[in-house]
Symmetry: C2
Subunit: 207 residues, 2 copies
DNA sequence: TAGATTGTTAATCGATTAACAATC
DNA sequence: TAGATTGTTAATCGATTAACAATC
């Protein structure tokens, strides 16, 4: 089966499957099964087969999935069979960590530019070698380059205006590390990372 | 209604509600409604009322919710009406960012100790003032202190063994920044933060 | 062939929404 | 009182699971 609008919750699991496949491949494995993947990820094998069936047929009865083949297909489906330029806004500790993060390169992403508003940071270099630019130039630069993905790593009180600027400049995908709920047009997708939110989810289950 | 096993997906939204309430409070607001919260968060008002109804009655018909009252109740429900000590493992860029993160203090968390395995880091200080300790002492120390929450900020290939050590020492809640799916006993809860996974979720929707 | 595992269907389970009586 | 908004019920919608024919 193709088409028919794939549920967002299914899309959200594909990167997890992809990560598991890369892991197996690094372990020199060539074949896997929905059973093995499910055990590893804490997901039922039926769910994995159902999820994949939204996009095509990738396995062989009796055998399972050829890891490289499924990996390549998932990369295509997720559009990470290429490298995306990402704009980083905020060059604090977190921005530094993201700029030098090794995990982006082989998973489809490259931090293409970094911006901050602090005068003493502007024109200095990030660990990765990237020059920090003045956030005042953000919109013009993003628009000209045609970048579509932004990472917001600024304090909460600056996040909404940074988001607005990025969106004005044509960005339609945001990864937001600031601990606020951004208000955005429905044409823009936002993923939120807030460690305190995750920790509070965990403490619910602690006495 | 009380009891009856609250769905995990509901629990996961509570920290978001709490964050929105704190935001409104900082804006000197005293009363809000499920409608206003929903608009702000992109969630239906019915869902917010339903979610809250798992835990009690916190509003007034015709008026809405007293922000401070609901905030306090959510803090109790999530067990963040106290401050939790958190063990940080990994003192790279990300560990540094987490150690100096200002957002933990007033949301129920304190980084109580930091560990790393790199000889040149051990006994040096993190930005927050915390001394980096040898990961060889992790288990003994965590067990003695009785810490229950760990943050894993080490490379992927070290993450599973760090998780094992933490779990051995009594930790039952893990926030994992390493890009692998940890294998853990069912008594342990894991939250995963992997920026590449989030970005790949976003690129699905980009041409 | 015998054994294994897929892709898919139908059944089950669970979550969201709509609607409204209660009531501030 | 009139208007507003809660808490809750029932209906709808959607996602997960179980089961199995197909087939490698």
């Amino acid at each position: 089966m193709e088409d028919k609008q794939v549920p967002n919750i299914v899309v959200g699991r594909l990167p997890i499957y992809l990560r598991a496949l890369s892991f197996l491949k690094a372990d020199n494995r060539e074949i896997t099964s929905s059973q093995e993947l499910g055990d590893r990820l804490g997901i039922s094998s039926a769910q994995i087969r159902k999820d994949l069936s939204h996009f095509g047929e990738f396995g062989k009865q009796g055998t399972g999935y050829e890891i490289r083949f499924l990996e390549n297909n998932l990369k295509e489906i997720l559009h990470v069979d290429r490298v995306w330029d990402v704009v980083l806004v905020g060059a604090g500790d977190l921005g530094n960590a993201l700029a030098s993060y090794k995990g982006f390169a082989d998973r489809g992403f490259r931090v293409a530019a970094a911006f901050d508003s602090a005068p003493h940071k502007i024109n200095s270099q990030l660990p990765g070698g990237l020059m920090i630019q003045d956030v005042a130039n953000l919109e013009a630069q993003v628009q000209e380059a045609g970048w579509k993905i932004g990472i917001i790593a600024v304090p909460a009180d600056a996040a909404q205006s940074v988001a607005n600027a990025l969106i004005n400049a044509g960005v339609t995908a945001l990864l937001n590390y600031a601990p606020i709920s951004l208000i955005t047009p429905s044409t823009v997708r936002v993923e939120q990372i807030d460690p305190a939110v995750h920790l509070q989810h965990l403490t619910y289950y602690l006495g």
